[in-house]
Symmetry: C2
Subunit: 230 residues, 2 copies
Amino acid sequence: MTISSSIDQRVSLAVSTVVFALRPHPVSGLMTLWLPLVRRIREPYEGQWALPGGPLEADDDLASSAQHTLERTTGLAPRYLEQLYAFGNVDRSPGDRVVSIVYWALVRQDEVARSVDGENVEWFVADDLPPLAFDHTDIVDYALARLRAKITYTPIAHAFLPPEFTLAELRAVHEAVLRTTLDPANFRRQALASKTLVPTGTCLQGTSHRPPALFRFEAGAPSPAPEEQR
Amino acid sequence: MTISSSIDQRVSLAVSTVVFALRPHPVSGLMTLWLPLVRRIREPYEGQWALPGGPLEADDDLASSAQHTLERTTGLAPRYLEQLYAFGNVDRSPGDRVVSIVYWALVRQDEVARSVDGENVEWFVADDLPPLAFDHTDIVDYALARLRAKITYTPIAHAFLPPEFTLAELRAVHEAVLRTTLDPANFRRQALASKTLVPTGTCLQGTSHRPPALFRFEAGAPSPAPEEQR
DNA sequence: GCGACTTAAAGTCACGTCAACTCTAAGTGG
DNA sequence: CCACTTAGAGTTGACGTGACTTTAAGTCGC
């Protein structure tokens, strides 16, 4: 950056977001990762599905711009937002060059309901997407890999959950994201060892069978600064 | 990105690089991380040190642009280059807004010699820098953290070394980067267990005392794609 | 009210990894 | 030939983890 000179040729700077949410799979009924896509209303790739995003806004930081654009196009307000990568290859977009700074985000289930807008926003199963515009398929694959890697060593799963939750619910999130089954006893052990869980002291009532204890996440900044990446 | 519109307000897109090399510390003589800085010749921050970089080049991908700019300003051709982060807060630069896509790079010792250009490029000890222009101090701190994290779980240390090297040399790189001493026996064990080291069969001759075996790194793509991040 | 059933939560055990340390190998120099 | 130095192999104990077992605490059916 140092020597900053203005851009002469046509280069657009865009901000897009890969948003993940958990919903039951339509066929299997299992909890599955979904993400919202926006139908393009102009060339190139008119009519195809693409990640929600838009041009960088003048008065907004990068993350704010991602949030605002997301709010405007899909009505979503994610609980977790982190920069993913900057994609800027010359040939990634026909016509003018576009450099996209891509974020990835997590939203709670109940947020999903607020988002169903018009016909131009739709949710898809993350591992079974239609062909996407631009290089967005690669971007989603990368975001999926990041999510799956990061959930194993950071407490981001809580972004999918309500403030209070049981260990079984937390485990269900991990199982859905990672597409595996996890041993309940072992999961409990290492979840408690991580020290980020605080027992509320209360138990979830009204369940059949033994009532599970409720937990809360330690009040720590869940906002991902550059520093905390790996 | 999806809806690409051109940038109307003054927004510059720059590409900068944090370059690391290993040289002996001037006082202690220990191997230490150094990095090249460029003296700014215009406002803002005229006269101050800043990361090498420049505006995104029209016909280059992001990484290529970083490489070319680096070559032009410092004469360096790094052996490892990976995207670090995109910095784009509104207030990070006085005057026109600058979004910087920052890379980090590793160069071999012998590359350092080729780089000493004019008075406007100088090498500094990475952990003891003068005040830098813009938010470049934060950027360097972040890059340092990334390097130190990544060297523990990826074989990037070879970017500092000649094609053939001994385990002691490899360990010296790790020790210099992490600023610790490492147990030679344990380091050997896990270095060999990682399967990325190939013994050349030969030993380094001419040393006092027992000659150490020489190793080579497995011929694998050391180019960092988005995929291989953590 | 009692047993069958289900999930929560704690405990056990074998295995693999790793840090700390010791021991042997293979050279050099006096 | 011995002292010295580094390379490299081996040993041990602590710890984390996967697979599994056991006990706790509730509901439901009869």
